[in-house]
């Protein structure tokens, strides 16, 4: 049986959507000690005072998931064709416990947390999304990676029958989609394996049944619908880097100082933007999570390792 509902969290503990939208008042009230309720600290990490939760219909209808087509609306239209139950995950490489596991067995008994993260796409738009998920380190540790595991590589499902974008003759992507992290990035407490959003199951177009969320990196690092986890000694070659290394790097940390060759990264449009208000705001180093993660890259030339 698939355990999609986070078992360890009572529905009474899930913040209702209207509380999300009134978050600033909520936090202000919390700061004044007027309420005993409070989101766990990590749930708010990196959020700016004027960050507002993006409406759910935008988060679930405006997606880059090229497995279903290159248009932003394609994933919401076609992702239902993907079967997510049963879902098995292959674990391989530099770890003691490798093999093929049922998705529900991997996450069984694990606490699902709620995290409100800023989400910044490399195309210079951004959102604020209430995710539900499990810290990636909790998931990876059960496979007992060995000392040789320096990186972890993820792979998206490859199933052209159900993922029409993978049949495309006019695509230059070599499926399946691949992404990877350095082990210290993967084990960072902010890195989340997402199983839901807005207190609900993760919709297919957002990467069901589980997807990565690395809030300080451009969105393409946060790989969706994962079927393979491989611990490696060498740096994985992620799909976009393989396709266009001059534009997309392995690290892909949000960095307003390093522009993409085809668009500026200095600012971003926060969705929903309207015709008369682009809702443009400056992009922050590490997407606003510099305090938490900048130390991971101490001494590295971030212009070279973009």
């Amino acid at each position: 049986m698939l355990i999609r509902k986070p078992a360890a969290i009572a529905s009474s503990e899930i913040t209702p959507e209207d509380v999300y939208h009134g978050r600033r008042e909520f936090i202000a009230a919390g700061a004044l000690g007027l309420t005993g309720l409070a989101l766990p600290h990590s749930a708010r990490a990196g959020l700016q005072d004027d960050d507002e939760i993006t409406p759910e219909n935008i988060v679930t209808q405006y997606n880059n998931f090229y497995e279903f087509g290159t248009d932003k609306s394609d994933p919401a239209t076609y992702a239902h064709e993907m079967t997510t139950d049963p879902w098995s995950v292959t674990v391989s490489g530099e770890a003691n416990k490798t093999g093929t596991f049922a998705f529900e067995d991997i996450i069984k008994g694990m606490d699902v947390e709620e995290r409100i993260y800023r989400f910044r796409c490399v195309e210079a738009w951004s959102m604020v999304v209430p995710w539900m998920g499990i810290p990636l380190s909790n998931i990876l540790s059960q496979f007992e990676p060995t000392g040789n595991a320096k990186f972890v590589e993820f792979e998206t499902l490859y199933r052209p029958r159900e993922m029409r974008g993978q049949q495309g003759f006019f695509s230059s992507i070599d499926w399946p989609y691949i992404e990877g992290l350095r082990m210290d990035e993967a084990n960072h407490p902010l890195t989340l394996m997402v199983t839901g959003l807005y207190g609900k199951d993760l919709p297919n177009q957002n990467g069901a049944p589980w997807r990565l969320m690395v809030p300080w990196k451009y969105g393409f690092k946060s790989i969706k619908s994962i079927v393979s986890i491989r611990f490696t000694e060498r740096e994985p070659i992620n799909t976009w880097k393989q396709l266009q290394a001059s534009e997309y790097g392995f690290y892909a940390n949000v960095n307003p100082a390093v522009s993409h060759p085809r668009w500026s990264q200095a600012s971003e449009r926060r969705l929903p933007s309207s015709l008369f208000n682009a809702n443009r705001r400056p992009t922050l180093p590490f997407n606003g999570y510099a305090d938490e993660v900048a130390g991971l890259y101490a001494g590295m030339d971030l212009r070279k390792y973009y």
Binding site: P55, Q61, Y62, T70, R262, L271, S274, L275, A278
Partner: protein, 211 residues
Amino acid sequence: MARYLKPIIVSALLVPWCWLAYRVYLETLQVGSGLGADPVEGLIHYLGEWSLIVLLSAFSVTPLSRQLKWPVLIRSRRLIGVFAFVFVVTHALVFAVFYAELQWRVFLREVIERPYITLGMASLIILGLLTVTSTRGWQRRLGRRWKQLHRWVYLAVPLALLHLLWLRKDGYADVFIYSLWAAVMAAERIHHWRAGERQKQSRQTKASVSI
């Protein structure tokens, strides 16, 4: 039929504008309902796509009128061309007003730093020149040079196609279709030009024989 040709073409060219007006109207009722979550991008892409379609339509008039042996069609060429330019200008204006938010520095920096925008802008300038000189008055004034000037469309079309190709991250189906369309129309022109050359040559040989 010839009498109704222009009204039919104008009505057809107004359809994308009506559709756009309807989407913008929806958008004013509720943000995100008419033009998607990123309305500025939605608007720019919509206008860009129609710019290309109408430009390619204008580019197709001459070959079509030859192949269909329907010279009346030529009379609608300017009309379609001017419409194409209106789409292109609106496309660029939306970028300047809504995307760059009328900050000319932002606008200029984008045009200079992003090669695909540079190409699009070059195409726009050419099409602007062609539009301005499309009147009978300019045709008379420029005489032989008018034809030479309007051959610049052979540069404006590939620039527009490159502009689209270069901004894409992946998924080139439409770029392929538009390029094929342009290639077919260009091939007809080359074919026609060669036939003309052959005729000229045979006339010359005949002339020399009669001497």
